[in-house]
């Protein structure tokens, strides 16, 4: 089981930094090792446009809104915007995004989509689905995660002088021994997942990315007796609240008191914005609207950008509520 020690509370030396020192000691004689100065903290600044990328953890966050609400509400007046691009079953190879094409085409589409949104920050949460491949899958995962960070950081050609996109890597929350997942299965999967979480931390160091360590820290944020997940895998409401607390703490804004109660209105607005944005970026009937049957119903594709003003209006509501946030 992962350590319950909180790795990155405000004021203490972050785990990432500690790890970095350890790694830096190992790597100091090797040319080309990451430089300490390349390690930015996970920090959100005024006007940041944040893309959330990952598997079902991120996809379902789009309906729960816990993490996004925590980040919005702890940065009142910062005008942060979020776009959730999570997709169930996805991996660092974009295996869920091929649609009618191979995953490699899905990967290219993913990069185009992210670049089109011109984010300043991309939060990347992968690793759990990949971890089913066990030890044999670890090295390819690590390599591909590095490639993904590199590809995401590259600004689009038209904005070549823009500062590179900041990357924040997220380790997956641990599997939980609740039905239908047996204790033995959970233990075995967490053993594998632990290696993947370590790889993610390593890549964060190499890439100079921020890190949010759900694997190591999320359970400590869980109220006594609460379950982290619904089924051993997918985060429960309490699990999302705990994950939100880890995110907030990771960027130096730990949550306090009855945070969820205080921010319920923001969360409702966040979820509505995300619902609208989902229909914008992943509309139903893609085959007819944009793909190989567009000669039939492609004329209806004009409706899809009509979601943009709706998303922006919903976002304005979020912004207003966040400014009023106590």
């Amino acid at each position: 089981m992962p350590s319950k020690a909180c790795p990155w509370p405000g004021g203490l030396l972050p785990l990432a930094a500690r790890l970095f020192i350890a790694v830096a000691i190992c790597l100091c004689s090797q040319p080309g090792a990451a430089e300490p100065a390349g390690q930015p903290p996970f920090e959100l600044s005024r006007g940041d446009r944040v893309v959330l990328l990952g598997d079902a953890i991120i996809e379902r966050e789009g309906e729960r809104g816990a993490i996004e609400t925590a980040l919005v509400a702890t940065h009142p007046g910062a005008n942060l915007t979020f776009r959730n691009l999570g997709w169930s079953g996805d991996t660092v190879w974009a295996e869920s995004r091929g649609v009618f094409d191979a995953p490699s085409a899905g990967y290219a589409r993913l990069l185009d989509l992210v670049r089109g949104l011109q984010p300043t920050v991309v939060i990347v949460a992968y690793g759990r689905n990949e971890s089913f491949a066990g030890a044999a899958g670890l090295a390819p995962f690590r390599e591909q995660l590095g490639r993904l960070c590199h590809d995401l950081r590259r600004p689009p050609r038209e904005a070549a002088d823009a500062p590179p996109t900041r990357i924040v890597l997220v380790t997956p929350p641990p599997f939980e021994a609740i039905p239908p997942l047996s204790a033995a299965a959970a233990t075995a999967r967490n053993a594998a997942l632990s290696d993947y979480a370590s790889a993610i931390r390593d890549v964060a160091l190499e890439q100079g990315a921020g890190i949010v360590d759900l694997f190591g820290a999320v359970e400590a944020q869980l109220p006594a007796g609460a379950r982290l997940t619904e089924n051993g895998v997918h985060l429960s409401d309490a699990g999302y609240d705990a994950a939100a607390a880890v995110f907030a703490a990771a960027c130096g804004k730990p949550l306090s008191g009855d945070f969820a109660g205080r921010t319920a209105a923001i969360r409702t607005a966040v979820n509505e914005k995300n619902r609208l944005f989902f229909h914008r970026w992943r509309p139903a009937n893609e085959t007819y609207l944009f793909l190989f049957r567009r000669h039939e119903q492609g004329n209806n594709a004009v409706e899809i950008p009509q979601f943009d003003p709706l998303v922006e209006a919903a976002e304005a509501t979020v912004r207003t509520l966040a400014q009023e946030s106590p």
Binding site: A56, V99, A102, A284, N285, R293, E296
Partner: protein, 1028 residues
């Protein structure tokens, strides 16, 4: 355009345009929109003798019903969507699940309760576990009612990650299996990526899922189909499937199998009624309310033709034969859209009528005003003069009463099983143990035994499967053994599947008195069963069990060895498929063992050879040679047939050196000519598929070119071409020029010559092609062969030859050769530019340009100039209207039939009616039931405008520059099979493919240009009459 994924390529090709599912297109022009009126709709129904229909429920209680399912209390759950086909910007999705109830038993719903709202296109609903499971676009939800007010108050995402690429393909057709798993389907465009505690499950394309809601185990049960919108399970647990866009009628589904449209497999299974209309929904009729002749018949819907259809199954081989029966309901109204059907608690048949003049959203605009979004009906069909089944609430019954009902008919059986499973093993276990003990004791010959007990035992077994909680509490090894040895083969077959689910615990302590046998021991007798269906299920079960074992284990080897027992007996297509699949599934278990000498083939080499050929493995070449050599020493061990089979397998999958041995056998003087021919054919196949030829000098083949045996000569000539045996050139040339030989043999020699390198071959072909006395078919063969080697010569000679006005058949052949080579069409166009062609010649050639399925503007321009004729595309609206009017009155279907069969129209060459005709184009057996005359006319005049799903062509360029167009038949990891315009399957190795792109219709334009308007009307009239 290179296409990365095979799926993408297949789909692009499958779905170039809409369809000769013609209603779709006919719908675009639909102007006569009926006024919704249930009384008038009822009036418009023609109901089968002995039945009557009443309106059970209508709007506003339900709108646009998508699926109906009864709960164990006898209430009907309906999912409805007015959001379909597409959420509007700003629209809040608010689709519903409604519960309908008929509390006073008068056949009309008197209670309507909205259970849940706020849903997004709920394409399925299934009551269970204190609420219902609902399809909600990307997710499967469970909506629970925790306070008993019949309104959902708890919403939970059970599974997520389902695709939405097409909203009439979204996950659908939820139903409980006899194993109490939730089965559901997705359609062809859907790509799903579902996270479960055991990892991600992916399904790209159509198929059927099997889901365990408590363990969240999710697996793909079967793959394929376009829109598998119907799934019924018969009393013996056999899955029957209908397809709302395929045309094969009723399909028998079994675990692991692949069907129409499945990609990634070189082999698929087919439905039982080729040429059927597209079908939606499926129910098997039973129950005391319905007359005897309805029992066991299937009800489904031809929603395009506004009718409710029936089929009857008869057991046959490892499955069934299916026969279409007269319709249950036919409506003259275009708005009657039956899409789901279930038997009710009163024994009546309930039909969900989506009510819509417009049926889907590919053809007609999403926002078209004619698209109905507010109406819907549930119709109730009863048998006249027969008592209804008394209704009851299954949740109020005691365990024993429910267990007794497991062998009841219709709704009661499913309701009883559902209630018992939800009560759980702790509550049901003690009663179940008593029943199980009694059932086990009741064996044939014992007091009170009757044949009906066999099903009871099976039902008890299924109940235990449903109650299985992952421990051993529900497992009853003795009962399992009892059913596996049932005198009824249907029970034995069904029990084999149960073994798979319990495999991890069988043979371990705590699974009952006879539980000492492991899963493979239990399955062992099934593969030698006298009944083919038992063998089929046994083979699939062994494959499933074996795949979960360490492939290096003796048990995995044993599973493979047992599965291959089924090779010993005759196999129908489905059983052969099942063994083939098992051999591929278990290759990691048997192949290394075989090579290590530790595989037990029971002394029957045929089993191993079957497996080697199924797996298409080349790794066993050496092993096979050893067997052969050993047989030479100790011949008694292998029969002559064994050795023949061995040689053929080596010929297909051996190394070059080993092929050489087979080659030498084929050439040996004492080898019978038929065997030589067959071996040469297999060797040539190796070159075609794998690019492996026998090692060494093959010049010896020349001797066989002049064999007096026609089959051997033909095989040798073909092989000489395939292997490019230069030494054969002179002989081939002599054969080609030999006026005393049958023309077909001369043509074959000419074609082989075409493959040979060297100037001699070239000169021979050019001489034949230009020879004024050469018979036309030979000219065609020579010119076709010349195209690939000297385009300049071929073009010049061909242009001159075309000017002489050759016959249509020869023109087609030569044109296809030009159109099949990259850049050749343009070169021919240059050569033709100064040439004068007869208009008829040009028109014939133009047909081939169209059939190539891609634009060839240069050649088209030259030929159109020469043809100087109007094509169908320019027919005026008035002329079309005149023809359509005549189709209504005055046209003669009999004359139309004669025209259809006229050779130069080529209808029969490509389209099948009943059992006659080609398979290049859609089967027309029932075209008239679905296609409107205007659509048929349009399709004749402009074939490219509406291409039926599955008949869009694919244009493939191979590395040798050959261009092949055809309809995709199948695609595996290594091979693509196309059906070309000649109704021939062309196998292309994926490694040889340079480019693929979707093409257009393969049906040539202008086929009916030579017909008068009257004749065209006759033809349309004939087509309209088909299936009516």
């Amino acid at each position: 355009m290179p296409l990365a994924s095979p799926l993408r390529a297949l789909l692009s090709a499958l779905l170039v345009v809409a369809t000769v599912a013609p209603v779709a297109s006919a719908q675009r022009a639909l102007t006569d929109i009926p006024v919704p009126d249930p009384a008038a709709e009822l009036e418009a129904m023609e109901v089968a003798e002995g039945y009557e229909v009443n309106l059970f429920a209508t709007d506003p209680a339900i709108r646009k019903p998508l699926q109906i399912n009864f709960d164990p209390r006898g209430r009907l759950w309906v999912s409805s969507s007015s959001v379909y086909p597409q959420l509007r910007p700003g629209e809040i999705p608010d689709d519903t699940v409604t519960i309908l109830d008929d509390t006073d038993g008068d056949g009309v719903a008197d209670v309507s309760q909205v259970f849940a709202s706020g849903l997004h296109m709920p394409t399925a609903v299934l009551p269970g576990d204190g609420g219902c499971y609902v399809a909600n676009a990307t997710e499967m939800l469970h909506l629970a009612d925790t306070d008993g007010d019949d309104r959902a108050d708890l919403r939970r995402t059970v599974l997520s990650g389902f695709g939405t690429e097409d909203t009439h393909h979204l996950i659908h057709t939820f139903r409980w299996g006899v194993d109490s798993r939730l089965y559901f389907n997705q359609s062809i465009y859907i790509h799903s990526h579902v996270e479960t505690p055991s990892g991600v499950r992916r399904l790209n394309g159509g198929g059927m899922w099997r889901f365990h809601p408590s363990t969240l185990e999710l697996d793909v049960f079967a793959r394929g189909w376009v829109n598998p919108w119907g799934h019924a399970i018969d009393p013996w647990g056999r899955s029957l499937v209908t397809d709302g866009a395929g045309g094969e009628g009723i399909n028998l589904g079994f675990p692991g199998a692949a069907y129409f449209t499945a990609v990634g497999t070189p082999r698929i299974l087919h439905g039982m009624n080729p040429g059927s209309p597209k079908l939606c929904g499926l129910e098997i009729l039973s129950g005391a309310h319905l007359p005897d002749d309805a029992q066991g018949t299937l009800v489904t819907h031809d929603f395009r033709a506004n009718r409710v259809c029936r089929y009857r199954l008869t057991e046959s081989g490892s499955g069934f034969e299916s026969e279409k029966l007269p319709d249950l309901i036919r409506s003259s109204r275009v708005d009657f859209r039956p899409i789901d059907v279930k038997t009710g608690p009163d024994g009546a048949i309930y039909i969900a009528d989506w009510y819509n003049p417009i049926i889907q959203h590919g053809e007609v605009d999403f926002r078209d005003d004619r698209r109905d979004r507010t109406h819907g009906r549930i119709w109730r069909v009863t048998a006249k003069g027969r008592a209804l089944v008394p209704r009851f609430d299954a949740t109020k019954l005691a365990n024993g009463e429910l267990i007794d009902l497991l062998t009841a008919d219709g709704w009661a059986r499913d309701a009883a099983r559902r209630v018992l499973v939800e009560r759980g093993i702790d509550e049901v276990g003690p009663d179940l143990d008593d029943w199980s003990a009694a059932a086990r004791r009741a064996v044939p010959g014992s007091a009170g035994y009757h044949a009906g007990l066999e099903r009871r035992c099976l039902e008890l077994l299924w109940l235990r499967q449903g109650l299985d909680d992952g421990s051993t509490a529900a497992i009853d090894g003795a009962l399992l053994s009892r059913v596996l040895t049932s005198p009824d083969p249907r029970a034995r077959a069904a029990a084999a599947r149960v073994v798979v689910d319990w495999a991890d615990r069988l043979g371990k302590p705590g699974v009952g008195p006879d539980g000492s046998l492991g899963p493979i021991d239990l399955l062992a007798p099934t593969v030698d069963d006298e009944n083919a269906a038992v063998r089929l299920e046994g083979v699939r079960a062994l494959a499933a069990v074996g795949r979960r074992l360490d492939p290096g284990s003796p048990e995995a080897r044993r599973a493979a060895a047992l599965a291959l027992h089924a090779v010993d007996r005759p196999r129908d297509d489905a059983l052969d498929y099942a063994v083939w699949l098992a051999a591929r599934d278990l290759e990691p278990a048997w192949l290394p063992a075989l090579l290590a000498g530790s595989f037990d083939d029971g002394g029957k080499i045929g089993r191993v050879l079957f497996a080697i050929r199924a797996a298409e493995t080349t790794a066993a070449s050496g092993w096979m040679m050893e067997q052969w050599q050993q047989a030479g020493i100790d011949g008694a061990k292998l029969t002559g047939a064994d050795i023949d089979a061995l040689l053929h397998a080596v010929a297909l999958l051996g190394t070059a050196e080993h092929l050489r041995h087979v080659f030498d056998v084929a050439l040996a003087a004492d080898t019978p000519p038929a065997k030589s021919a067959s071996l040469l054919g297999h060797l040539a196949e190796s070159q075609r598929k794998r690019k492996v030829a026998p090692a060494g000098d093959l010049a010896g083949l020349t001797r066989l070119l002049t064999s007096p045996d026609a089959a051997l000569e033909s095989a040798a000539v073909d092989a000489a071409g395939v292997w490019q045996v230069e030494a054969a050139a002179a002989t081939l040339e002599r054969i080609a020029a030999d006026v005393d030989r049958p023309l077909v043999r001369r043509e074959a020699a000419c074609r082989a010559l075409g493959n040979l390198p060297g100037q001699a071959a070239h000169d021979a072909l050019a001489a034949l092609g230009a020879g004024p006395t050469t018979p036309e078919p030979l000219v065609a063969a020579a010119l076709s062969s010349l195209v690939g080697r000297s385009l300049d010569d071929a073009s010049t000679i061909t242009a001159a030859w075309l000017a002489t006005g050759p016959g249509d058949g020869a023109i087609h052949e030569v044109m296809r050769a030009f159109l099949g080579a990259r850049g050749a069409a343009d070169r021919l166009a240059q050569a033709l530019a100064p040439t004068t062609l007869a208009p008829s010649t040009a028109r014939t050639a133009l047909q081939d340009v169209t059939a190539a399925g891609r634009p060839e503007p240069g050649l088209t321009a030259v030929l159109e100039r020469a043809a100087a004729s109007t094509s169908g595309r320019t027919m005026t609206a008035e002329e079309r209207a005149w023809i359509l009017a005549r189709v209504g009155t005055g046209a003669d279907a009999g004359r139309g039939r004669e025209l259809y069969r006229r050779e130069n129209l080529r209808c029969l060459a490509c389209h099948r009616i009943d059992r006659e005709g080609g398979r290049v184009g859609p089967n027309l057996t029932a075209i008239g039931s679905a296609a409107q005359p205007d659509y048929l006319l349009e399709s004749l005049l402009d074939p490219a405008k509406n291409v039926k799903e599955g008949y869009g062509s694919l244009v493939v360029v191979t590395t040798d520059g050959q261009v092949t167009s055809g309809i995709p038949v199948s695609r595996s990891d290594t091979e693509l099979v196309l059906r070309n315009a000649l109704d021939k399957e062309v196998r292309l190795q994926l490694a040889d493919i340079d480019e693929e792109a979707p093409g257009t219709s393969l049906m040539p334009a202008g086929l009916v240009d030579g017909l008068s308007k009257e004749e065209i009307a006759d033809l349309v009239r004939y087509l309209s009459s088909l299936g009516r």
